[in-house]
Symmetry: C2
Subunit: 205 residues, 2 copies
DNA sequence: ATCTGAAGTTAGTATCGCTAACATATGTTA
DNA sequence: TAACATATGTTAGCGATACTAACTTCAGAT
């Protein structure tokens, strides 16, 4: 009674793992075609089920995309924490590392990144998305405070963390939008990240 | 033989001004429903024509959205140049003013702003979009150079202009995505813009 | 052994993007 | 002025899509 991996034919009427396989199919399609050209039908074809099946697990197309977006935020956060492990505490290195992860994620998963931020969906009413985002942002704030040698987050830390976030967020979008062709804007990412970290965190205020 | 304004019934078989009215209807709908919930049919209803009519003027839905995006970029650029008129040359004021316009545009026309940047469409192959964007960016570079007291744009100016652009771009997206609820992040936009301008342009490198 | 509910299916609806074929008006030219 | 060519509308229809309703399958609890 082997379970069906990916999109192969089932031997049993029930699928067994449809929800997570639909999420994976959705994620893959969002990357391949872009979030605005994703279709539920195609995800169904990949998962090898009828087009009505998803509605036993999600109440709409939007909810499927939402699940993918949430998984993306969690992944992004995990990558961030992992990268932090490699840097010594209280240094600018850690700020730079977080920015590197942010941009790297956007570039390697532009479809999901757009889902997480670029869509017109009002994310404000999706509590889980907001919470995960806040959670990640809190990590940045903490690191900024530590650069100051403080263990508690003050208002200046929030301010600086916010400047950093805006910057890497914009940088990520510009990169995945192809606004930075190598010809007209040769970009040394590492250099830029260090530069901005110094300008923002390196000199207080 | 009065021409039909907006979506009222025509007295003649031909519309007379369909192309521009479709663009306007598209723009309005993109704002109201978001770029991802725009439909050609609905634009047709607004313009008071059949659903096949647009295809005499645009070859696809994408091209309609593209036209709206382009118009948006032009509008944004015009607002920028207008605002510059009000500031004395060679001052940080001008940098701040451009940032203010950028963010203000995004906030007041989030739908169009997302069309201009947030979509997965590969804008790189739409020459007109790229050119308009480059054109606007060149203005920023020039202003940065002038802050240095130089009339010619050097590499450092390009670098700094790029940092500024990334920042306001990210800030704009975070704002329209509702990531900055007033409660958790009370944002004094003007203060933030001045701060970032000083950090980036105010001290060379 | 039966019942119940979760998780599939088929079939069908409304909407959408787009095309083909046809209709109408307008401006050019004989 | 009449005929034609062209631009710009229309209707009708196709295939894809999101979603629902009603039915089927199957596993687990009693």
């Amino acid at each position: 009674m082997e379970k069906t991996p990916h999109s192969e034919k089932r031997d049993s009427y029930h699928h067994g793992d449809l929800r997570s396989q639909l999420i994976e199919a959705t994620r893959a399609l969002v990357e391949e075609k872009g979030p605005d050209h994703f279709s539920v039908s195609e995800a169904c074809r990949r998962a090898g089920v009828s087009t009505a099946a998803p509605y036993k697990h999600f109440k709409s197309k939007e909810e499927m995309l939402h699940a993918v977006a949430l998984a993306g935020m969690v992944r992004q956060r995990e990558q961030m924490l992992a990268e932090l492990e490699t840097c010594t505490p209280g240094t600018l290195d850690r700020i730079v590392a977080m920015g590197r992860v942010y941009v790297r994620f956007a570039v390697s998963e532009p479809g999901v990144f757009r889902l997480m931020f670029g869509l017109s969906e009002d994310h404000a009413d999706h509590v889980d998305l907001v919470e995960t985002g806040d959670n990640t942002f809190a990590v940045v704030q903490r690191e900024v405070a530590r650069c100051r040698g403080s263990m508690t987050v003050e208002e200046t830390d929030v301010h600086q963390a916010f400047l950093l976030w805006s910057f890497v967020h914009g940088l990520s979008f510009l990169m995945i939008d192809g606004k930075l062709t190598d010809t007209k804007m040769p970009l040394d990412l590492e250099h830029v990240l260090v530069d901005i970290a110094q300008r923002v965190v390196g000199q207080g205020r």
